[in-house]
């Protein structure tokens, strides 16, 4: 009996194809919009999370000045020096590794190939702090580090550009005017923190200071915090120490800043999550507008439908049967619309995800929720006009204009 009702409902839907199409259009668009927005938003969140986590967990980044760049904190906030690095290493509890960094951009040349890249000077602690593995070769020895020898470890991008076919370890190439020997290659990390992390040449810091930057300044210190310690309390002790070393009086502002990568990551994740929610909400409004569309079509066709209800009642249908028919019709329509919407959303996200460079993540939950909501909207807006008609006297329903 129920099966028959469904068959009859489908027959009615096919008989009034245009009306049915207009009715479900709102649902189709609404469902497609909600699912597309939320799926893309979740993909974006995942992408951000992935990028941030590639920066390393429990890492504090210390820079001169306030905020990124060197502005603030007096006329010019001085850079750090090796003394600061040693002090942090020796005096702060809970520090797993401290790696200074001095950077310069430079042209790397080997035979006919050249490549503009970043030369980073650091200590062997860098590889501990970053938990960055080598695929081949070795890290420089303490003696080489001490002497500032021109040995280098190259990232995957540099390797591909300068050594497309040969094994780079043991080979030499020139960075700016400096001839240096490749002693190791880094594992690929890919796009991270909005730049290509693999596009780098890493050398002992002394070599970079002497031959590239021309001073003993350290622009950037990276501190890896031991997991057993609170990052925030380690951060506070470092701040205390650096204020002292940089002679900042009480009441004066810091002329350096310490960033907790986890904090950044949480902030960014929060932001993308809010964006997803906002986009989802906008899309949800379109779903509701779709529902109102259904109601409009239902109200427009209510004269025709009321007469139909009148005829059915007059030839002996009880109100419950007529309502059941309308309910099933509304459910079938809404479900069809919902399904079409889901398929559209799937196609749209598959096309758009690569374009805006977010991964495609299929989330069954949002699909289910959007589908259920659409079904509910269809039922509510399709059923209630019918219920009013079915409560009329058959003769009043027939006379309806």
């Amino acid at each position: 009996m129920f099966f028959t009702t469904v068959i009859l409902a489908i027959r009615e839907i096919r008989r009034h194809l245009l009306r049915s199409f207009l009715t479900v259009l709102g649902i189709v668009i609404g469902v497609a919009a909600v699912v597309t927005m939320v799926t893309l938003g979740q993909g974006a969140t995942a992408a951000v999370t992935e990028q941030i986590s590639s920066l390393g967990a429990n890492i504090l980044q210390i820079r001169p000045g306030q905020g990124f760049g060197r502005g603030g904190g007096g006329a010019q906030a001085p850079d750090f020096d090796m003394g600061d690095v040693d002090a942090i290493q020796q005096q702060i509890a809970g520090v797993r590794a401290v790696a200074p960094q001095a950077q310069s951009s430079a042209l790397a040349v080997r035979n006919a190939a050249n490549w503009q890249t970043t030369v980073a000077g650091t200590t062997s602690q860098f590889f501990v702090a970053q938990q960055w593995e080598l695929t081949d070769g070795r890290i420089w020895t303490p003696a080489e580090e001490q002497a500032g020898k021109a040995v280098c470890i190259i990232g995957n991008t540099v390797r591909q550009n300068l050594f497309p076919r040969t094994d780079p370890v043991g080979q030499r190439f020139r960075v700016r005017d400096v001839a240096c020997e490749v002693i190791g290659t880094l594992a690929s990390r890919g796009q991270g923190g909005f730049q290509d992390q693999d596009d780098t040449v890493i050398m002992p810091i002394k070599a970079v200071q002497r031959r590239f930057t021309g001073n003993r300044d350290i622009r950037f210190i990276m501190v890896a915090v031991d997991e057993a310690y609170e990052t925030s309390s380690v951060q506070a002790s470092i701040e205390q120490l650096l204020r002292q070393r940089r002679n900042i009086g009480p009441g004066e502002q810091d002329n350096f800043n310490i960033f907790d990568t986890r904090q950044i990551s949480e902030t960014l994740q929060g932001t993308t999550r809010i964006l997803t929610a906002v986009m989802g909400a906008v899309a949800a409004v379109s779903l509701i507008v779709g529902g109102i569309g259904i109601m409009n079509i239902m109200l427009v066709s209510v004269t025709e439908r009321t007469r139909e209800i009148g005829i059915r009642l007059a030839i002996g249908a009880v109100a419950g049967e007529v309502l059941m028919q309308f309910l099933v019709e509304a459910v079938v329509l809404a479900c069809l619309g919902g399904l079409i919407g889901l398929v559209l959303a799937l196609v749209a996200t598959l096309i758009m995800a690569p374009l805006i460079q977010v991964p495609f993540l299929f989330d069954p939950q949002i699909n289910l929720v959007a589908f259920s909501v659409s079904a509910l909207i269809g039922i509510v807006f399709g059923y209630f006009p019918a219920r009013r008609a079915a409560s009329l006297n058959p003769i009043d329903a027939l006379r309806h204009e």
């Binding site: 008989r15 249908a317 009880v318 109100a319 419950g320 027939l398």
Partner: protein, 236 residues
């Protein structure tokens, strides 16, 4: 056996609206119809014929008085019980056809059977038989828009008789039709009355159509003015 009249009205009134705009369309109708009779209802426009037919067809309820159908007091039944009464015993032909649009003649005729719970094969068989009785076998798959007025009216009649009702009510079944088609419809109704023993009540304005009936009830101003016995034989 002196059976109860199939239809018995006593002091039936019907008031439309309420308060200052209230209008009494029926002012106290007394009427009985024997099973197997062929009744024509006549009277000036606005005299309450359709109102009375709707009450007889259990499509509407009287404001006052009593209506017994096969001995059952209809005013005591609820909506659904009246619907079941219509489904089981009554066929109704409306003045304006009232067929489902975009729906084939066959499906229109099948509709009452659907609510009776007949299976598909039975529905088709009975509906085709009814279409055959009204002479529309070859038009079974045409929608109302593809049928003439007379053909639509015959589909409506087929739909009304497909359940083999005890009583067929027809409100101006020939109202919109030319004389030739009207005569065809009247012959159809007469045949149903004679051969299938269906009690027929029919509203008409045309005296020629009323001549097909055995009993003519005249309405005036919401009252039954007179009841005439005409035609060859009053049913036993």
């Amino acid at each position: 056996m002196a059976a109860d009249p199939i239809i018995q009205l006593r002091g039936v009134t019907k008031t439309y609206g309420a308060g200052a705009t209230a209008f009494q369309a029926l002012k106290g109708i007394d009427l009985h119809v024997e099973a197997g009779d062929f009744v024509a209802v006549m009277g000036p426009s606005g005299s309450g014929k359709s109102t009375a037919m709707n009450i007889l067809g259990c499509l509407d309820v009287p404001t006052g008085g009593s209506f017994r159908f096969k001995g059952v007091s209809v005013e005591r039944l609820d909506r659904d019980q009246r619907a079941l009464l219509r489904r089981r015993y009554l066929g109704f032909v409306f003045q304006g056809f009232n067929l489902l649009a975009r729906t084939s003649a066959l499906e229109n005729v099948e509709l009452p059977l659907l609510y009776r719970g007949e299976d598909k094969a039975k529905r088709r068989e009975l509906a085709m038989a009814a279409l055959d009785k009204v002479g529309l076998t070859q038009w079974w798959d045409h929608t109302p828009a593809e049928l003439s007025g007379g053909q639509q009216q015959r589909v409506a009649i087929a739909r009304a008789i497909v359940t083999s009702p005890d009583v067929l009510l027809a409100d101006e079944p020939t109202g919109n039709l030319d004389t030739r088609t009207s005569v065809e419809i009247m012959e159809l109704l007469t045949g149903l009355n004679r051969d299938a023993g269906i009690t027929v009540l029919m509203v008409t304005h045309e005296p020629e159509m009323a001549e097909y009936a055995r009993t003519i009830v005249h309405f005036r101003d919401g009252l039954v003015e007179k009841v005439e016995q005409v035609g060859a034989g009053v049913p036993a």
